[in-house]
């Protein structure tokens, strides 16, 4: 045998896991069949075993899907990523310990899982009808006959769960990519596809093609992240120079300060906020649509003969919507305040204000403007919209969308506020505390940082 054929290769096919699931399936359902036959039990008597298996085996298959990606993805392992950063790896080279993208050998896993799925389907014949909750499944059962339908469903479920685990894990690393935003907008459209199972593989392949380049780009970005010297933080530089006497960093690095870079950020943050807002509004609409039609039906049924009841029901539903919108706004405002104030130090932190008996620090308190807006927005929208005839579904979508857009994005963003707001930083001389109660004794250095260069 050629020695090069003995070269070790990445173990893509999880033989141990697949064998365990196969043997487990055979053992569990074999013993169930045996017990059922020996004790002459009905299906209902051993339903709990079926339900247990119905959850455990799919969970394992999903884990195999997650494992297929995460085992070989350096982004999931900070130490491996660090190792890769320091190694000679180049973006056009394969990853040293195996590919996270699917390769031909993965077909073995898929075929194996499909066979296990067929086995499940066959074993689940007693339980399949109980799980046929979707009209599409019921129709398929009717068309194929019990055994074939159960086997087909088992096979689809097995492969589908693997794909779900793998793609979900893959998409996780693309949390801020436009591709995931695209998926976020497209996701509600999966429901119509569910009625036609043949569409699911098409969906899976589309998602895979959409996400994969972004994940690889992120991996490249991460491995290149430390290749360039980080720009100096002006405040850190001043502090370090004062404490240790290190020469201040000068030269080309200083040209692109973090503060200068942050000036560009509000535009990006605004774009992100708009997308967040649109996504929230879209999902609100998708989720509330069935609920809304149900409420309308209920209202009409109640008020068919009694207009007073109709009016009362309408008011109740409106009040409920306003309450939900206000509660969501309050939560978002609190979340934003928490994010900003937890990251601020004395004297602008809440505790710092209490200690210094200075509750309002005008230049910094622009940070409260947006949370206030978020809180009052649902109420203002409600009041403005109601005379024109409020369509509740649209109102909730718009209200949530705007609240989320305000909460995550626009001015002042956290970074901008920290680095670029009109703040005066006081630095003590070495040996003095950063904050002293008696200002006249500290002879503190006032550093006004000019970020406009």
């Amino acid at each position: 045998m050629n020695r090069q054929s003995q070269a070790p290769r990445a173990r893509i096919v999880p033989v141990v896991w697949l064998s365990t699931v196969s043997v487990g399936t055979v053992m569990l359902f074999g013993s169930v069949e045996l017990i059922q036959w020996y004790f002459d039990l009905r299906t209902e008597d051993i339903l709990s075993v079926g339900i247990f298996a119905a959850f455990v085996f799919p969970a394992i298959v999903m884990c195999i899907g997650v494992g297929r990606h995460s085992e070989y993805q350096p982004l999931t392992k900070p130490e491996q990523l660090q190792w890769l950063r320091l190694s000679a790896w180049e973006p056009d080279q394969p990853l040293p310990f195996g590919p996270y993208r699917l390769v031909w050998r993965d077909l073995i896993t898929l075929i194996w899982l499909a066979l296990i799925g067929v086995g499940w389907g066959f074993c689940f014949i007693h339980f399949a009808m109980d799980t046929a909750i979707d009209s599409a499944v019921a129709a398929t059962l009717e068309r194929w006959g019990d055994i074939q339908a159960a086997m087909l469903i088992g096979m689809l479920a097995s492969v589908g769960l693997y794909a779900l685990g793998y793609l979900g894990s893959l998409a996780f690393h693309q949390a801020y990519s436009w591709r995931v935003w695209a998926l976020g907008f497209m996701a509600p459209l999966v429901w119509p596809a569910m009625t036609w199972p043949a569409l699911l593989p098409v969906w899976a392949i589309a998602i895979y093609i959409l996400i994969l380049p972004g994940v690889h780009q992120r991996l490249i970005r991460e491995t290149e992240r430390d290749t360039l010297r980080p720009p100096p933080d002006p405040l850190e530089g001043i502090a370090i120079s004062m404490f240790s006497g290190a020469p201040a960093r000068v030269g080309p690095d200083s040209r692109e300060t973090p503060a200068k870079a942050k000036w560009r950020e509000p535009g990006q943050a605004l774009a992100r906020a708009v997308v967040y807002g649109l996504l929230a509004a879209w999902w609100a609409w998708v989720i509330l649509l069935p609920l809304s039609s149900f409420l309308v039906e209920m209202r009409d049924a109640l008020g068919r003969d009694t207009p007073a009841v109709t009016e009362e029901a309408r008011l109740t539903v409106k009040g409920l919507c306003l309450t939900v919108a206000l509660a969501a706004g309050a939560l978002l405002a609190l979340g934003r305040l928490f994010r900003y104030l937890m990251n601020s130090a004395m004297p602008i932190s809440l505790w710092g204000r209490v200690v210094h008996r200075r509750l309002i620090v005008t230049r910094f308190d622009i940070v409260f403007v947006v949370p206030l807006l978020i809180v009052v927005l649902p109420w203002v929208l409600f009041k403005l919209w109601q005379p024109q005839g409020l369509y509740l579904l649209v109102y909730l979508g718009v209200s949530w969308g705007l609240s989320i857009a305000l909460a995550v994005g626009p001015w002042p963003t956290l970074d901008w506020w920290r680095h670029c707001s009109d703040r005066v930083v006081r630095l003590p001389k070495p040996g003095q505390r950063l904050l002293d109660s008696g200002k006249r004794d500290t002879k503190d250095i006032r550093v006004k940082i000019d970020f406009s260069r």
Binding site: R3, Q4, A7, L86, P96, F243, P247
Partner: protein, 275 residues
């Protein structure tokens, strides 16, 4: 500068400062290492040895100053950094290992990454496994190995790259057995002498340094306090060439171990009752 010849340095460290928070760890370190030189870095715990090696190895950026590898400044551009990484292997004291991989697969993966031809790689992997007494564990997953064996695998991983520049943080620590220590000692000497590999190695054991080092850099409180050959350092310490390097290092670093020992025993047993 501490080079003895006019030959350009392969690795040059110019005025490197580094801080953890506002605490300075390195304070204006200058160092130059020539091709085929084996430089040992020694100093007390917390003196900045590992930080210096991390900066040379590319793990950390210096606060100020720069590191030049064969004339290319570290972190000057992505391309420059990639070129340096092709030539240098850096092994931290606690190296990451893919524990689910087998020993052979791990070494193969690294060899391929560094573009070593398959046939040559086969031979090299076999020789490395034999050198570290790991040939019987070659097909085992690395998680089944002992701590010392895992350390050997980490070292083998650095060596299989065939890099011209090796930066190794405490390669002799981590539970290596006496044959491995002996093998490593001979290996480093011959890599530097026969193959012109440049090595910077952090070693805490003066006896080992005396046996292998071309030059020694003593680091104290973030500064290279002394740098030279073992004989030169003994001279600087005012000792004869026959004296042990441990005594010289102790003296140059101002450790005063003998005095501390005396004080310890005097304080714990002032009446000499335990003697």
């Amino acid at each position: 500068m501490d080079t003895h010849t006019t030959e350009p340095a392969v690795i040059r460290v110019d005025g490197v400062w580094h801080h953890y928070g506002v605490r300075p760890v390195l304070r204006g370190v200058d160092l130059a290492v020539l091709r085929g030189e084996l430089l040992c870095v020694m100093g007390p715990n917390g003196s900045g040895k590992s930080t210096l090696l991390s900066i040379i190895g590319g793990l950390l950026p210096p606060f100020t100053g720069r590191v030049l590898i064969e004339g290319i400044a570290r972190r000057s551009s992505v391309e420059a950094e990639r070129a340096i990484r092709q030539r240098m292997a850096y092994l931290p004291a606690e190296a990451w290992l893919p524990l689910n991989e087998t020993c052979r697969a791990y070494l193969f993966a690294i060899g391929r990454l560094y573009g070593i031809a398959e046939a040559r790689l086969f031979e090299h992997v076999d020789r490395l496994l034999e050198l570290f007494d790991l040939d019987r564990q070659a097909e085992q997953a690395m998680k089944t190995l002992s701590t010392g064996q895992q350390k050997k695998m980490a070292l083998a991983g650095a060596l299989v790259t065939e890099a011209e520049l090796l930066v190794l943080d405490e390669p002799f620590s981590g539970g290596l057995d006496p044959p491995a220590l002996h093998a490593l000692q001979g290996l480093f000497e011959r890599l530097a002498a026969d193959r012109s590999v440049t090595l910077i190695v952090a070693v805490p054991v003066p006896e080992l340094i005396e046996a292998i080092a071309d030059r020694v850099a003593l680091i104290k409180e973030g500064v290279v306090s002394h740098c030279g050959t073992v004989t030169e350092l003994k001279q600087q310490a005012g000792l004869s060439p026959d004296a042990s390097f441990a005594t010289a290092a102790d003296k140059l670093l101002g450790s005063d171990i003998d005095g501390k020992l005396e004080r310890y025993f005097d304080a714990s047993d002032p009446d000499g009752a335990l003697r």
